[in-house]
Amino acid sequence: MPEYKTVFGSLTNYEKGGVEIINDQAQNYVFSNFFEVASHSKPWEKVAVAKNMEYVIEAIRADGVSPWRIASHDEFALVMDGSVTIDLLDPDSVTVGSDTTGSIAVNGEPSGTKMGQIVAGRGHMALLPANRCYRMSAATASVVLLQTIVGPDTVQRWAEICQTH
């Protein structure tokens, strides 16, 4: 029996593929690598690496403690490197408009009822439920892929992160 090695990337060790053009333009494939993107990001920066109409996947460099955030719809956090702790809070007074997309930052420490905590390692997927506050923290630089909708803090710098030729 051969022993198979499953290759996952990390912030410090990833290999990138690419687009080999025959009769096309590389930009059409919006090709990037989220480990590379996160390795150049500031902590908690929400950099879009995939976008389909209003929907987006953000690569987040999780490092230290994030501000509290809230969204009017479910979001999903997939840890791709390191370990991330997620605290969830049922807020007393913080709300977000139902037509707001993506998450918005909450000022300071919101008051509310503690809902629980998730400690997620590589490959773990966590629900960030609609209309709840969440805060992430990571002791060492980690990577989160966030399934969400374009919001006020989504960073789009496609020309910097994508293969252009």
Binding site: Y4, G17, V30, N52, A120
Partner: protein
Amino acid sequence: MTTSQEKQLMGTEPNDHGYRSYSLGEFTFTRDEHFAHIEWPTGRHVMAVEPFLKALMRDIAWNFFYGTVNFDSVIGTVNHYGDVDLFAGRFNEDYRRAEIDHLENFPHDEIKATFEAMLGDWVNASFDPFAAPQETGSAYGDKDGDNVAAVTRTRVTATRMVGLPEDEPLRSDESGFPVNRMFADVDQSEPEVTFEAGYEKEVSAFSLFKYLSRSDVTWNPSVVTVCKDSLYCPTTEEFILPIIHGNDRVEWFIQLSDEIIWEVADRETGRPRANVVMKAGDCAAMPADIRHQGYSPKRSMLLVWENNSAALPQMIARGETPNVPVVF
């Protein structure tokens, strides 16, 4: 359904190899030991029966999926979400030029029922069209039993997130999903989840990598998380995608592990446009005017990301959707 339609669904009497023949409009489908033969008034086509059945399996299980499902460079279907085109040579510029291409439109339920009857009859007991080559017996030979359990699998479609109460279940040894031989080294630990009373339905997490390491099928995107119309459809891939997908909208690939090489060609003509090599961490869009087929040397984890908006089919029909997701 009328009696003639029911009769058509049952197919003909079995031929010398034990297989029934089927018809849809002016198309006929016949199989022998090695091949599927497809005929229409202006032409004919032959496919090795193994790739034919693997393509047919996906087309059925995905309900004709998004846009065009090419079985190869000649045969395939186009989903209009309610009715479906069956075509020969429609997306092959030489067949078009020679005017031997053919296309007929069928109500969704009619083509689905005929395809299901054909798949049920043509798949033998030892063959699993969803399995990797080394994990299934042969598709070839005379009629030898059937494999109803394998060909009636449906794709998992979570409504919020797999593993939540009342949603699609996680996978385990106990539920009949052992770790795949190529993912024996994948960490099986689950996230640590602690919740206060009353919040157990909202404080939830699961190991996606464990879940995928236990997938018993290849090239079968299944919905695991839902953010409005944004669907995460991860899948495990090994060998060749059995169809050439010509999506009618942009779709995205996020490579979670290992490597896949995509061959990309023009959706209308089939002329080559690019090869896209994807390694762990790579993200790439598949434009809406191409067709793509993937090759995965080792079983890999691929996150297929789809936009399932109900508004898209009308927008696509009116030509209002962009071919690329972002312009920069």
